[in-house]
Amino acid sequence: MANTNIDSVKQRSYDAIVIGSGISGGWAAKELTEKGLRTLVLERGRDVKHIVDYPTANKMPYEFEHRGEIPHATREANPILSRAGAWQEDTDHFFVKDNEHPYTQKKPFDWIRGYQVGGRSLLWARQTQRWSQYDFEGPARDGFAVDWPIRYEDIAPWYSHVESFAGISGNQDGLAELPDGEFLPPNPLNAVEDHFKGVLSERFEGRYLIASRFANLTKSTPTQLAQGRSQCLSRRLCKRGCPFGGYFSSNSSTLPWAEKTGNLTMRLHSVVHSVIYDEKQEKATGVRVIDSQTKEVTEYYAKIIFVNASTINTNLILLNSISSRFPNGLGNDNELMGKFVAFHNYNTKVRAQFEGLSEFATFGDRPGSTYIPRFRNVFQQETGFLRGYATAFSARRNMYSDRSGIGTDLKESLLNPKLGGWSVGAQMMGETIPKESNYVSLDTEKTDSWGIPLLNIDIDFDENDRKMEIDSIEQLSEMLAAAGFTNIKTTQKRQAPGIDIHEMGGVRMGKDPKTSLLNKWNQLHACKNVFVTDGACMTSTSTQNPSLTYMAITARAANHAVEEMRKGNV
């Protein structure tokens, strides 16, 4: 450090530092600033201001030069990113290109990233189902990973806390395996979805079709209006950023809220190199930041540090935080850091058609669809594989036009679309088992543009996943057939992990410092003023989309951190 005089150090000192401004970092910032902590949020990318920086939000389809398509040469240059369905001409500016932050794939892994304020919270699928007691008890019951140090009762009030603020739509379904919450009005179901729901409840014990819970405002309440957010208009253009704040993102909600407290400082273009550990004080004192534009290195100091850089980058930062006390990475005494990474399995899909209920169609649009909670091995082990899968389901009836002609016939047909038949689709969302052999590690030679070691990623599916895929095809096909759906077609993809964008673990929570990295409050066992509350903290993955759980875990940990600080414990 060129400049270490006392004034300069003071200027670079805060009560708390949050690394990352995505869905969990935004929550850490909100909770900490609300509790009066002067908080520095470090974001490695550029600013994305709510509304102002959504350049495509109100564009008509014909205003995109390629009508939404990413040009061929750009796709060829980005083989990893090109597998992300959400990467299109209208969202291009929110995705990291393959060459911007390379990594080594020991096995194929599609790492999809959003390096900007708000991170991937701008782009997420917005599905927000709570975990249940059966999810938290999973590893202990089935003998994999380690036991979660928390149970549903610990997190339930924090689910309520984040649901109320973010605005989550849903129905009170009364299911033990998918607990109810603080919900705005649910998404409406259509005639065929209601039909399928009826068939399941009559003929398949323990299987339920419900309105999916999602983070779009089906109604605006005073809580969201106070954030400047209004009702979702079902435009289904969320990934461009919503000018109405119709869905939850850090940009529309937590960050502006934190800013209003006057306690927030944001530093952009700040790539975190490592967390600084002080051996005398036996705690972390700050973070070392590389400015991505000037390459200048600056240190920032704080009493507590929240690491919310997104699962894999959080692993990277901590593994790179080396000191003589922690030669393998901060808090990594047991050398388990980076290991036991897991994800979600989206490999199978079953589609069908339906000739019934032809008197009905759908009109207009809605922001969500429907969901079948996990029904395999929920209350006891009953199949030849561990855990199970939830299912996303939807029915639609599209307009179509015959395109076989040429000339006036074709034109006539295009301008007079006809109502098609009903079609349905069911997609598995499977839990995968964290294993030591699925890991990320630092490359010992290669470094990135900022001199930080490149990541090696070595993650793959296993036999349990394959068995579950086959079961999902059999069960979903049987359920669809029972509902009278015909022309059932199944697909079993072989896509690489990563593209599910639900990578989790590596810095897992647990009861025992010998087998886990974080305690039940998300503190590193060996360095209690460092908190990890993004996907890296996850001990197991369950089947539910993880963001809501990251938010609840973050809010819980942040409030605990403030209490501990006030008691002088951290």
Partner: protein
């Protein structure tokens, strides 16, 4: 920045007008064929005729009036593989041979009904060359896309709603089935 990117950028800045003028002047082609051939004014005229035949002007403008031929070229240029581009180029060049054989005259000399018939037979015939089939398929798909997603159609003919109506999952099908 190469010449093509420079032109594209200027065109974007000026709302597309420069690009249109540029193309009409026939100075050069947007489509750079990987084997070194050029997609010049002759090829552009042929493509325009194909696009015009596929979706002609009636009481509303057709694809040609909406500059859909330029959209097709842009998409072939930017969004297709080199293999597609080669097939598109040579398929377009083999059209006249095919039309001469079946209809005794060049595509451009055919009247509108014969042009429709010729494209229909290219579209269907299994004995046409893979290049010709690739050309017809790409030209047709991109023509339909360029037409339906043109500003004119999306605002004047089949208005696109940025804000959809509230969802009704039990909407009477009869209201969408028209005369049926």
């Amino acid at each position: 920045m190469n010449r093509r990117q420079a032109i594209k950028r200027t065109a974007l800045l000026s709302g597309g007008m420069v690009f249109l003028k540029y193309s009409l002047l026939g100075q050069a082609s947007r489509l750079s064929i990987p084997d070194g051939s050029t997609f010049g004014p002759d090829e552009e005229r042929m493509l325009q005729l194909v696009v015009d035949t596929m979706i002609p002007a009636t009481d509303t403008p057709g694809a040609k009036e909406l500059n859909v031929d330029q959209f097709v070229l842009l998409m072939v240029n930017d969004c297709h593989s080199k293999k597609d581009q080669m097939a598109f180029y040579s398929g377009l060049h083999s059209m006249d041979v095919f039309v001469e054989k079946g209809f005794g005259q060049s595509f451009a000399s055919c009247d509108i009904d014969t042009r429709v018939e010729a494209l229909n037979s290219m579209n269907k015939k299994s004995d046409t060359s893979p290049e010709l089939q690739a050309f017809i398929q790409i030209a047709k798909n991109r023509t339909i896309q360029g037409y339906l997603e043109s500003k004119y159609v999306m605002t004047e003919v089949l208005p696109h709603k940025m804000i959809p109506d509230p969802y009704d999952g039990y909407y009477p099908a009869s209201k969408l089935e028209g005369e049926i």
